[in-house]
Subunit: 455 residues, 2 copies
């Protein structure tokens, strides 16, 4: 036999069970997006490299999957071409790349179709993305992103709505979460206040390690990064700040007294927290100053969601970016968005055993096949059940009944209908309950009633 | 401003309206697949080139999109490498390709996971595929395929079921169709009977042109292809055959008297037609000897579906292949499957104006925003409606009401709730009917009842 076929490393096949679980997650997310008026779009898997390059930093450019131009390279490229620097050689080999995320294609979409869009534009997009990352546990080269964004509105009602969406999705998924909120303007205000306005990122990155490495090590790191002794001393009270969200906000209110943008950031966080209120059961909202995701593009709110039950990275995150479409020449369109991490949510649900019973989506009844003639007697009933929405299979071959029952078991089909010559002669069906093991003889009508009771 | 961004030729963005229409099609197909016990799987967009190459003929190999290996080519490839023949050079540049169809990845999946699969395995798969075809009207480089296949069963009940699926899908889509049925064994039997057993394909291809170019030209073409005068003469009665499915089958019954495989093919067609019976309203089943799709891999039944209302190519097709997984070393697994052409179905529905009213899936109510304070008064009601499944938007900015109403119009939102200071003070809402133009003042309860009457 030939070598067993395989798939590229870092990619996955999804089996029927995995698909049904993943679709459960996607369906909850889609339904919440729908009720909040977000509209689905899709963009092509391939984008022009000019659209993608330079949008994800130098490292990101390297992680783009590039699609080879068609044709014969020997003919197209002179040998001298290979002496070109990689940046000049690459376009001769490839002009297209696979989507790296959903945000840049969305920005491209908004600019390209701006005349057909009614702003504020609330869109969602659930599609795979590809990254040539080194594959490792939980990190794949192809994975789905589920993004919702609003562009063309500055209002904090959008942040409120996105947090409602987060709360609603995780409530439907039966998962307890902590929603962490921060604001880039506060971080900038702190850097400004301690006299290190250009070192916001260094300060934030160091602050984020406070829990892990402690105050002294953070101070050392800040010194290494070149933060002056005065700035380090000024920053100390922030690092020593204690208490809940309310206490921290109050402390920063005083601390940021002379930084207008810091105050604005605080006000934004307060507004979002007040709008959200206590109205999000199962989902705790807290201010977290160390939250620093996407600092290179977020300009206002920063949002991150963690499981309150399982130790795992963030399962959803997002923020506000004031100039998303600027990279494609359309200035002044503010946006805010979130992205659900379907793979991590899948892992959390699996670990907590919270996926709903698969019986509900799989086949409910198998009609056993007792022979060419006998099986003809069940086709009309099978059809009736299907028309009522019941998932029904008719075993296609007149195999040994033992084999057919083994199939039903392997597929977790709860009921098997036995209709042999005797049943057909009497005009009845024998219904076998695969879990309980018992069986019952029923008229076709009684069986229909039993299998679709809502009817 | 920068140059307007664009997407690679032959690819498409899907707008919210297009998505909602496409999802309508996919949802009908999925629901029918589900009720018939077909299980969803997904395979990666990228497959190893060794999986894809040589499976689609020489032309197909050229149309594969290949993904560039990562890294620096200058370093990896010596200049001599470029003197290698294309077949030896290509692997140095690329080891992965984008999925060209869903059938080969499915065969690979079955072989790779055969120990986890309960046969007969009924799977469906709805995913995009990529082909480096020259883009033209109606032909894209990225398009979705919707495939259902059963592998591991020879029974013609599978053909029957797939035709039921076709009938059910198009009934749900409100489209009238003709389902054409043929069988490769009949075509082989005819070639055998006229003494030209090796020229089945030439005969079939010429027969297919009968309607267009007439008997004489077909005869000329067969002569050019080297069919002997005796064979051409023997074939003539088949080409002159008249009547409906029943007459044609009866004629061939006599004609193929001495060809066992020809008779077997006829028996298979008859069985499938008898099983299907008159039981498929809106979907006419007919025997069509000229049907020759997929001759290079189908070994039994051949199925093709045409619109009975619009002149367009086939909108669904399929057939039986006796050795799908043989290419990956697993012999003796027979399969039969169909594939719905979502793009063409979309075009037919659009042309006949049969898409359902979009109102049903879009936003139903927009709460206008009369100011920062006023809007707070509507958030709880908006949330209540969303919890009842109603799609609701709250306009995020306190823009001019004219602008907000224009947004509702552009988005085809049927109702706008006006809740200014006066309404808030009185504890009522003014509900504006955007189509009729009238408006009504309602208590919150009355409005909830009006907007979700099923509740």
């Amino acid at each position: 036999m030939a070598e067993k076929p395989s798939i590229p490393k870092g990619t996955r096949d999804f089996s029927p069970l995995e698909m049904s679980r993943r679709n459960f997650i996607f369906d909850q997310i889609k339904e919440v997006f729908r009720t909040c008026g977000y509209q689905a779009i899709e963009t092509p898997a391939m984008e022009n490299l000019s659209t993608l390059m330079g949008k994800y930093g130098e490292e990101g450019d390297k992680l783009l999957f590039k699609v080879l131009n068609s044709g014969d390279f020997k003919g197209k490229l002179s040998e001298e071409a290979w002496d070109l620097p990689p940046g000049k050689l690459a376009p001769l080999l490839s002009e297209k790349g696979l989507r790296y995320d959903l945000t840049v294609p969305f920005a491209r979409y908004v600019v390209q179709h701006r005349n057909d869009i009614s702003f504020p534009f609330k869109r969602y997009q659930i599609q795979p993305v590809w990254r040539a990352d080194r594959p490792q546990r939980g990190r794949y080269r192809e994975f789905y992103q589920c993004d919702a964004d609003v562009v063309g509105s500055d209002s904090l009602l959008n942040e409120y709505e996105l947090i409602q969406i987060i709360a609603d999705v995780f409530r439907r998924l039966n998962l307890k979460t902590v929603v962490k909120l921060n604001n880039r303007k506060i971080l900038a205000g702190i850097a400004e206040t301690v006299g290190a306005g250009t070192q916001m990122t260094d300060i934030t990155v160091a602050m984020d390690k406070l829990d892990k490495i402690g105050l002294d090590k953070v101070m050392e790191e800040l010194e290494e990064k070149g933060l002056s002794a005065a700035s380090r001393e000024a920053l100390k009270p922030v690092l020593e700040m204690q208490g809940g969200s309310e206490e921290k906000l109050a402390f920063l209110e005083a601390f940021l007294g002379s930084s207008p943008q810091g105050k604005l950031g605080l006000e934004e966080v307060r507004t979002v927290m007040e709008l959200t209120g206590q109205d999000t059961p199962g989902c705790r909202l807290e201010f977290d100053l160390t939250l620093a995701r996407g600092l290179n593009y977020y300009t206002g709110s920063i949002i991150e969601v963690k499981s309150a039950e399982v130790e795992i990275g963030s399962i959803c995150g997002g923020g506000r970016y004031d100039n998303l479409t600027g990279i494609f020449g359309l200035e002044g369109v503010s946006g805010v968005g979130i992205s659900f991490g379907a793979d991590r949510i899948y892992d959390v649900l699996l670990q907590l055993d919270r996926f709903p019973d698969q019986e509900l989506t799989g086949t409910r009844v198998l009609f056993a096949n007792f022979g060419e003639k006998e099986v003809l007697g069940v086709l009309a009933t099978a059809k009736q059940l299907r028309e009522k929405g019941v998932a029904v299979e008719v075993y296609p071959d007149a195999a040994k009944i033992k084999k057919q029952l083994a199939y039903a078991n392997a597929r977790s089909i709860p009921y098997v209908v036995m209709a042999g010559a005797e049943e057909l002669a009497r005009g009845v069906y024998t219904l076998k309950d695969m879990a309980a093991g018992g069986q019952e003889t029923l008229t076709p009508d009684a069986m229909l009633k039993f299998l679709c009771p809502v009817d």
